[in-house]
């Protein structure tokens, strides 16, 4: 008699597969980095970095900015998510659509835009004649400012993840609560929030981890006020690169790893002991009549959008139209020279556009496959091995891009053993680095969606005779379509203007948009940089509109900005 499979819930190859991928994408690069660090320590002793007060201040700053930023993100993101999902306000699609875009404005650009917008020489304020006096201090150069910007930057992450959670709430659970006499706010607190908790927590933790790893914003807002966070500290360490530096990097990476494992712990606590499986049909949650508040809510949302999208974007446009910094925008100074330079002369921009879109797309869809595998596995398998996997998935995204990049250079600069081909200098090393870096982003929404699935739905499919791939394709994926959509959109948007990872990995022909924008800006052609940023935002908006055209043919809820 033939042996029966030990476990009936997952194909045997699934766990090894997941382990393998996590190993390549996370364990290997981190391991390599630590190895070099250890090596350096052996050669020239323990690095002073742990002893220096600066380090610990940076840790504290990283922590506080990440936490505060996360709070801002949650506030903004959930406000939009709830308003757009549960109330009867108008123009929901437009609002949702617009709320995606701030993420598309590269953090350094957002930061710059805000600095300019609020600074004495803001083309906007100048043109309005409201520019504050010369030399007035810049309020954004502070922990508060950094947090605020981080918050804005990452609010869409929370929004998307939470939407996924909300989509899964069965309508009748809310109806039952209403009949029980609970007021809308009460229901929000007692029913909606708890049921959407996996989504919310997913969003929050992405926001937190993004905050830890973000370089662009603290670089522009922190350094002027000499406020250092771990990524900027790492960067300053690199300025004088010596034998010790690898040791420093290793140590700092470990610190960061510790911080995000703390984050993971909190997340684990928050999720534990609850049951989120939705019993029965989950349909669109009913909307609450916002009645008199409708106008207020709408106004508030649009106002927020003005500050986080319209204003920075306009500032960006403005500075792309003037030849140099500080030149006021007016009939004499305005010129489209920057655009024509970017579009017609700079061949590199087209390359970069193609590269970035390819990389972002490949990363987004590649990771989706893997996230589904991990999430599914996590649902059916507990134990230390699984905890380790989820932990490892988290870390690369939390590391400053430049550190991760260094790890990958260390790993791939030399030809691969056995096969003997060199990935270094090709676009593939960037792709691998992206896969590694955005693993966490892609995984979060998907796994939260799996948490909420009614197990019976898969069981029914199995009894119908559908094997793993079959039921994945026909039943599970469609059911988590909103999460899958969110995951893809998230990764795509983030990867599309990613800078810090590709900054070290690009070479001739493999420039990414982030790199090109940064280099232009760094070598003084701010107008070109702004122009390109504008174009990137427009391109992404264009892509999203394109999707909108095919919305009919896609599974329901895939497009995050649609209900």
């Amino acid at each position: 008699m033939q042996r029966l499979p030990k476990s009936n819930s997952q194909p045997v190859w699934l766990f090894p597969f997941v382990l393998a991928v996590v190993f390549v994408l996370s364990a290997l690069p981190l391991g390599r980095l630590l190895f070099s660090g250890a090596d350096a320590v052996l050669r020239s002793g323990m690095p002073p970095v742990l002893g220096e007060p600066g380090t610990w201040i940076a840790v504290r700053n990283s922590f506080s900015t990440a936490i505060l930023g996360m709070i801002v993100s949650i506030a903004l993101g959930s406000a939009f998510a709830f308003a757009l999902t549960l109330t009867d306000i108008g123009r929901k699609k437009a609002l949702g659509f617009a709320f995606m875009l701030p993420m598309m404005i590269p953090p350094q650009v957002t930061a710059l835009a805000w600095v300019e917008m609020s600074g004495p020489a803001s083309p906007l304020l100048k043109t309005l004649g409201m520019a504050p006096p010369l030399g007035s201090p810049q309020p954004l150069y502070s922990v508060g400012g950094i947090s605020l910007l981080l918050g804005v930057q990452h609010a869409p992450l929370v929004f998307l993840a939470l939407r996924v959670g909300l989509a899964a709430i069965p309508r009748d659970t809310i109806e039952a609560a209403r009949l029980a006499g609970a007021s809308p706010l009460r229901i929000l607190r007692d029913i909606v929030l708890p049921l959407a908790m996996p989504g919310l927590i997913a969003g929050a933790s992405i926001a937190f981890v993004s905050g830890i790893g973000n370089f662009g914003i603290p670089a522009i807002l922190g350094i002027p006020a000499s406020i250092f966070v771990l990524p900027t500290l790492v960067y300053s360490r690199l300025a004088s690169f010596g034998a010790q530096t690898f040791a420093d990097l290793a140590v700092l990476s470990i610190l960061i790893a510790l911080i995000c494992s703390f984050g993971l712990l909190v997340q684990h606590m928050a999720l534990r002991g609850r049951d989120y499986r939705i019993v029965g049909l989950s349909g669109a949650a009913p909307v609450f009549a916002s009645g008199p508040f409708r106008v207020i809510i709408e106004a508030a949302l649009w106002l927020v959008l003005f500050f986080i999208l319209a204003a920075p974007f306009l500032a960006l446009v403005a500075s792309s139209l003037v030849p140099a910094y500080g030149v006021p925008l007016n009939m004499q100074t305005v010129s489209l020279h920057a655009y024509e330079e970017i579009l017609l002369r700079q061949a590199v921009t087209r390359t970069a556009l193609v590269n970035s879109v390819f990389l972002a797309g490949a990363a987004a869809f590649g990771l989706l496959v893997f996230s589904v595998a991990v999430a599914y596995l996590a649902l059916h398998r507990r134990g230390p091995a699984m905890t380790l996997v989820t932990g490892l998935v988290e870390i690369p995204y939390a590391l400053p891009g430049i550190v991760l990049a260094i790890a990958f250079v260390l790993l791939f600069a030399a030809p691969l053993p056995i096969v003997g081909i060199t990935l270094y200098g090709t676009i593939w090393i960037i792709l691998i680095a992206y896969l590694s870096s955005f693993l966490a982003v892609s995984l979060k929404p998907v796994s939260s969606a799996f948490l909420q699935l009614d197990p019976a739905l898969e069981e029914a499919a199995r009894l119908s005779g559908a094997d793993f791939f079959r039921r994945m394709r026909d039943v599970l994926l469609p059911l988590i379509a909103p999460a899958a959509g969110a995951s893809v959109v998230l990764v795509f948007l983030i990867a599309c203007n990613e800078l810090t990872v590709s900054a070290l990995l690009w070479s001739a022909g493999t420039q990414t948009l982030g790199v090109v924008i940064f280099n232009l800006d760094d070598s003084g052609s701010s107008d070109l940089a702004s122009a390109l940023s504008v174009l990137v935002v427009l391109m992404v908006a264009g892509l999203m509109l394109l999707l909108e055209l095919f919305a009919r043919r896609m599974p329901k809820g895939v497009l995050p900005w649609r209900n």
């Binding site: 069965p170 009748d172 659970t173 109806e175 039952a176 609560a177 209403r178 009949l179 029980a180 006499g181 609970a182 007021s183 809308p184 009460r186 007692d190 029913i191 708890p194 049921l195 908790m197 609850r274 049951d275 989120y276 499986r277 939705i278 019993v279 029965g280 049909l281 009913p286 009549a289």
Partner: protein, 341 residues
């Protein structure tokens, strides 16, 4: 408490036909209405409109003399002080059983000892004391349904809406639940609307029975009456067992027809237009000097066997028999009475 009035209520889900068409009925204050009808005829939709989840496309709903729903707008459910057992239970997966049952109390600001006592009482009504700390996902189907029941009965609502509240319970639990409903109804004096497929239940509990079909209300009457004197083929066919025999009967015959009239009619010896006659199996009795009929089939249902007889020219007629009778055998039967629909 106040009486519940639906007038000319209609609801269309946008799709093809309307789910509820021009339904008007009144449940008197403290009344107990049973809503019967084939699957998909619009019962749940009516409950959902009463609860305020769906807006009528036409007509209105009044509680007392207050309009609570019409095509113009609806009073939000949370302001209606109603309670409902959902066909889908609609339990909150993140709360324990106790939490689910106690939530309406919590919302009403009851807490501490009072809360615990009321919840414990409700749970003991449905025999789930032992499961207070479980989560819905860890319950059996029937247990979930009972939690939904307890949640519905824990407060003292003006109107109680029950959508097949006992569908997943075994007969003994049903009996005790029916008892519970009676007590609750007597005690709270709430107006109850009860959707069920089990006519025995409906008859046993309700002060009035309303029969629906395809979104329309066909007849509303007290149980005995609707059973004894159904109006029209559909109601006749829906309520209780029985066969509808088209028989030639004199124009002037009373609607309740006796054997002496039925016998010739069956034999085809009497004149008159064909009338639909409803014959209940309990009115078909084996009787040597009755009309000879062939047994088509005989199925055992526990307490007795249900026979299907050939009442002549292919009319099938159900009958009860204490003992099994082989299909194909013949026997004499009388129809003690029939009802012209």
């Amino acid at each position: 408490m106040a009486k519940l009035i639906l007038n000319h209520l209609s609801k269309s889900y946008g799709g093809a036909g309307a789910a509820v068409k021009d339904v008007s009925l009144t449940v008197r204050e403290g009344g107990f209405l049973a809503l019967l009808g084939p699957s998909g005829c619009g019962k749940t939709t009516i409950l959902r409109m009463i609860a305020g989840f769906e807006q009528p496309t036409d007509g209105s709903i009044l509680l007392g003399d207050r309009v609570i729903s019409d095509a113009g707008g609806v009073l939000p459910p949370e302001k209606r002080n109603m309670a409902m057992v959902f066909q889908s239970y609609a339990l909150w997966p993140h709360m324990t059983v106790a939490g689910n049952v106690g939530y309406p109390l919590t919302v009403r600001g009851i807490s501490g000892e009072a809360w615990r006592r009321k919840v414990a009482d409700a749970l003991s009504l449905v025999h789930l004391e032992a499961y207070a700390e479980r989560r819905p996902a860890e319950l059996s189907g029937g247990q979930r349904q009972r939690v939904a029941l307890a949640r519905c009965l824990v407060t003292s609502p003006d109107v109680v809406l029950l959508d097949e509240p006992l569908a997943n319970l075994d007969r003994h639990l049903r009996a005790s639940m029916e008892e519970t409903f009676r007590e609750f109804h007597a005690r709270s004096g709430a107006t109850m609307v009860y959707v069920t497929h089990d006519q025995g239940e409906a008859m046993a509990l309700a002060t009035e029975v309303a029969v629906m079909s395809e979104g329309r209300l066909l007849q509303t009457a007290p149980p005995e009456e609707i059973y004894a004197r159904p109006e029209g083929r559909i109601v006749g066919g829906l309520i209780g067992q029985g066969a509808i025999l088209p028989l030639p009967l004199p124009q002037d015959s009373p609607r309740l027809v006796e054997w002496n009239q039925l016998k010739p009619a069956l034999a085809g010896e009497s004149q008159g237009p064909l009338r639909d006659v409803l014959v209940r199996p309990e009115h078909v009795a084996a009787d040597p000097d009755g009309a000879p009929m062939r047994v088509l089939s005989s199925t055992f249902t526990g307490e007795r066997h249900v026979l299907t007889l050939d009442a002549g020219n292919g009319l099938a007629l159900p009958a009860y028999s204490a003992s099994h009778r082989a299909p194909g055998t013949h026997g004499g039967f009388v129809i003690t009475c029939g009802w012209i629909l």
